[in-house]
Every structure is written in structure tokens, then in C-alpha cells.
Symmetry: C2
Subunit: 333 residues, 2 copies
């Protein structure tokens, strides 16, 4: 028996979450019983999709729903060895006991940092890969628009489209991210939607229209994209960050779906488990060759998870937002 910490939701956020919506709670953590393991968190993933859950299936007074990478520190389950790294979806808990369900042993690639297994090589990357290639049915050389292209999923989707020979336009909300997308990622056009109206800028940037709009924003971004869609265009809907914090921006241009026969379709990463082997192989190669670049913002300290989540909606992250629980971030293992 020992003690460890959890991040709880203590009240439902009104609009953008605030620190007082969360609490760091100390709890007793039992030792692993027969058939069980005890896991110590190493890294946790903070993602925009967590926001709508705070209004929905996230229970009050319970650990935040989410996942990360942990280390087996006690094992009485033959499938796990002490020292193993595992992916888990056990929520924001510093340490927890599990019967092993929902844990997947992770053999990190020795030539890549552990953190990429929580973004480019994790759910983030698979979301971009499946959303663009399966739901978006991307064909080589098409015209592509990616919103929040400076973010973890967006930047990965934009680069996969570039690797497929597409013309790729990205939108982002800061000059720094715009510069990265232009100079390092080398997108064909980059829009800072805080500097110019998204509708006019997108019209200028897409002289051949849009075949695939990888949608992360909704609202004004979607209304900018809809009249630019080509016939038989696709809008894979990954997220709508503009509406997660309530109210949100209305959409008025959906009638453009009709005559252009545009398909708009939602998805989540778990739809793509059948693609995971191909994805891991492709993405490992792209990361090692430098064809897919990434940025990450790592906050040190378990208790900073609420700060990380809130920061996502204020654009405080550069690329993927992660929480590191241990000094070595697991890399020493």
C-alpha cells in the first residue's frame, strides 16, 4: 500500500475549463494482487477531444479519462514483466493497479524518443493517417486543406498529404506556427487565421478548390472551406475545437454539400485499428527519414495536467501537449 495522486474533475466547466474545475487528489494505492500489475505513469497525453467528455461521460470526482504510457512496477500477472512500458487508457492517475485489460506492452523504437509513441506513432498519428487516407479517401496529387495544421494531428495529416504529392494548405493561429509550417514542414500555403479573414485567405490559397478538407475546427473554418469544395470532395471530421467550449460558431454554408456531392464524415482513432500495422511501419519510416516532422510541448509534473488541458484551448502548446511524470520521462528504461 502506498499513496499516489489523481486528477479529478470536481465541477463541469462553463466554457473554457479553469484550474478550479480540477483537483489533485491523494489516494491510497493498493499493491498488485494475484493476476494484477501496478503501473506507474511515465507520460500522459492531453488532447482536445477530452474537452467534450467533460460535459458528457466524464464523472465528477473521478480521475480524468485519458491515456498515456506507464511502467510496470509490480507484476503478479504473467503477461507483464516489471520494467515493461505499457500504453494505457486508465485515466490521469499517477499510479494504479490493473488486471491487465486495456494495457498494451510498448517496445519503443530505440532510434526515436519515447514521446513520439504518444503522438506521431500513437493515437494522434493514427487519427491523421486513417482520417486522411480512409475516411478522406485521399488520392495522390489532390488539393488538401488542413485546419489547426500547427497542431499534433493537423501537422501529421498535412505532412502525409504532402508525402502523397498533394497541394496542401494549412491554417494556424500564430505567426510562429505559420513559420514552422512554411519553412520547415514546407506546406504550399499557410494561413494565420488571426491575421486575415479565413474565407478570403482560403479562397486565394486554393485556386484549384479543395478535394479533401481535414476538419479540426468547425465554425468559420468550415464555412470558409464549404464553397471551395470540389465535386465529390470529402470532409473527414476529426474535431471541432471551435465549439468544444460552448456556444461555438454557427455554420451557414452546408448547402454547398448538395450540388458538389460533398461527403462529410466523423471518425475516431479507434476506427482504424485494422490500419495500425501499416501505419506503424509507414510512420516509423517517415519519422526516421525526417519526412514527417513534429513539435511537442512537454510539461513536467503530474499536477500540471489541468494546465496542459486548458492550454490547448488557448494555443499555448506547440504541437503535441504531453505531461511527463518522471524525471527521465521513461527514456532511461
Amino acid at each position: 500500500m502506498s499513496t499516489s495522486r489523481q486528477i479529478h474533475l470536481v465541477r463541469r466547466p462553463k466554457g473554457t475549463p479553469e484550474p478550479a474545475d480540477f483537483a489533485v487528489v491523494e489516494v491510497e494505492t493498493p499493491d498488485a494482487g494475484e493476476g494484477e500489475v501496478q503501473v506507474a505513469g511515465v507520460l500522459m497525453s492531453v488532447d482536445p477531444y477530452m474537452r467534450p467528455r467533460l460535459d458528457a461521460d466524464q464523472a465528477l470526482g473521478e480521475p480524468l479519462l485519458g491515456g498515456g504510457i506507464g511502467r510496470i512496477v509490480q507484476s503478479r500477472n504473467p503477461k507483464f514483466v516489471e520494467g515493461d512500458l505499457v500504453r494505457h487508457g486508465a485515466g490521469f492517475r499517477e499510479r494504479f493497479v490493473s488486471d491487465g485489460r486495456g494495457l498494451a506492452v510498448l517496445r519503443p523504437d530505440p532510434d526515436l524518443p519515447l514521446t513520439v509513441h504518444l503522438h506521431a506513432l500513437g493515437g494522434t498519428g493514427l487519427t491523421a493517417y486513417g482520417g486522411l487516407l480512409q475516411v478522406g479517401a485521399l488520392a495522390d496529387g489532390e488539393q488538401v486543406f488542413v485546419s489547426t495544421a500547427g497542431g499534433a494531428v493537423g501537422s501529421t495529416a498535412a505532412q502525409i498529404a504532402k508525402l502523397k504529392g498533394c497541394y496542401v494548405v494549412g491554417s494556424t493561429g500564430s505567426d510562429e506556427k505559420a513559420r514552422w509550417l512554411r519553412d520547415d514542414v514546407r506546406l504550399d500555403a499557410v494561413i494565420n487565421y488571426k491575421q486575415e479573414p479565413i474565407g478570403e485567405a482560403l479562397a486565394r490559397a486554393t485556386p484549384k478548390g479543395i478535394d479533401v478538407y481535414f476538419e479540426n475546427v468547425g465554425g468559420a473554418h468550415l464555412d470558409a472551406a464549404l464553397p471551395r469544395m470540389n465535386v465529390r470532395g470529402r470532409i473527414p471530421v476529426c474535431g471541432m475545437i471551435s465549439v468544444y467550449n460552448g456556444g461555438g460558431e454557427p455554420v451557414r454554408g452546408l448547402f454547398n454539400l448538395i450540388y458538389r456531392r460533398v461527403r462529410m464524415e466523423g471518425f475516431v482513432a479507434s476506427d482504424f485499428t485494422h490500419l495500425n500495422a501499416a501505419f506503424q511501419s509507414d510512420m516509423t519510416g517517415w519519422l526516421k527519414s525526417g519526412q514527417v516532422k513534429y513539435q511537442e510541448t512537454v510539461l513536467d509534473g503530474f499536477e500540471r495536467a489541468p494546465e496542459g488541458l486548458i492550454g490547448l484551448f488557448e494555443g499555448r502548446n506547440t504541437g503535441k501537449m504531453l505531461i511527463r511524470l518522471t524525471d527521465d520521462g521513461g527514456d532511461a528504461l
Copy 2:
């Protein structure tokens, strides 16, 4: 050489079209030259889809884009015999000369009125059939919601869904149409959206959610349907009559597409030409057996086409709106 009339658009409507946006213009009509036919209009179809074209590809001072059934009155083209009935898309012209392209000889079913070939057995019916079965990928026994269920396309879609063993909810804007849908068409639930808020009414009427929403309205109707959609639901987008006359109702609930993996997809009748043979066969049977019922509003007089079009947006039609150009409506042929 003779004279005949055309309906022209003379100015772009602001909002709902007004009579003064149109003019009845007398023109000279040449006789059919070598390889040509002269066609005299018999029936014309007036449809909601015509409204957005008035802002787009409809030229000013030219005949309204649209179609109908005409009769060959002169033929110097071996493919057509004088007296033949033809379907045409030649616009709102009382009489016109054609080289035959875009004309399709119509052999009307002797046991059905000619008018049905412009709705249940025409583009209206094919739109409902293809939209529901192909784009909507309707499976037997699913939960279905149809908006403007009292209209030509909507009532056909709702009845096809009933024939497939589905639970079908329809919305309409008048008590008279609601009564017809409840008592004659026998839908499972009918909502008069002018009498009760569509969101609450739809939630009550769809205890098992919605697998297919056949979308004709947009705006508040779409926002009512989105939170009711089941996982892997489909929203075939046939029309958005709420926005055709400008401004329109905003949509705020599109984030519901994401976690439910809903697919929303636009279409037009011409996408379904490959289904036409199956459609004609199915629909002829359903009409003769009375399994598909219809209503129609026929205005007598070529010059009443603008009145018919405007009436669509004021709910003045019961079922399909048609303009009859000749006393016998072609039935005497």
C-alpha cells in the same frame, strides 16, 4: 415561324422570389430545320432546387432553367415522330426547337396519369430512391427521419422507407399535410414543426435514435436531428430549403458527427441514372398497388410558373407542384 412565350428571370431575387423578379416574354419560334424538332410544352416541373440557381447559373433575361414534358409538333429528325411525348430540360419555354439532344421519348404508362412521370416516376422519385437507398445506404428495419415529408421528394422517401420495414418519422409544416402523412401514408410519427419545437418533438418521436435522416431543410431541423443520430448514421442531403432564400438558419450541432461517426453527403438526381431501370420497375409497381401515394398541385397556365415557384417557399403546394400548359395536360394523347 410562330410566336410563343418564355419565363425569364429579370432580376436576382432578394430572399424569397417575388413576381416582379420574373417576366413572361413573347418570342419568335422558328420552324424545325433539317435534323430538328419543334416541341410544345405540356407540363413543367417546379422544384425547390430551382431557387439556388436563381443566384448562380441562371442567366438574367433567359428562360428559367428547368424541365418538363413536351410533345413533338414538328419533326425533321428521324428519332422523333410527331405526337411523341418527350422529357426535356430545355427550360421554361412554351415552344422550342431542338436538335434532339436532351430529349428522351416518354412512353407513359397507360394505367397511370401523365403527371406522375414528372414526380413519383420522374426526377422527384429517383431523387428519393437513390438518395435513400444508395447515399443513405438504408437497411431494412432502420430508424428513419424525413423532413418536408409532405413534399414530393419527402413523401416518396418516407414511403420507400416504410416499404423497407423502417420506423419512419416525418416533419411537415401544416396540419393538413400532417393528417395526410398520419392517416393515409401511415408514418409512425408525424411532427408539425410549426406547432411544436422540432428538437423536443423529434427527441420524443425517435426513442431508438435515427439511422438515416433524409435532409431537405437544414438549419433547426438539422440541429434537431444531429444529437439523435445513431453511431454510423447517414444524412443524405437532398436539399436545404431553409437556406435557399438567403441568410438561413445556422447549424451548431455538427460536432455530433464526430463520435457517432455520422456520414453526411450531398447528391442530385443525375447521380442515379444507373438506378433508373430498377427504380422505374419498383416505383411503377408501388404506384399501381397503392403502396406509394402522392399528392400534386397543378396550376393551369404557362404564365403561372413564377407563382408556382414562389408558392413552394410559402408551402402553398400540396405535394408536387406542376404547371400544365395545355387543356388536356397531354392525357388525351
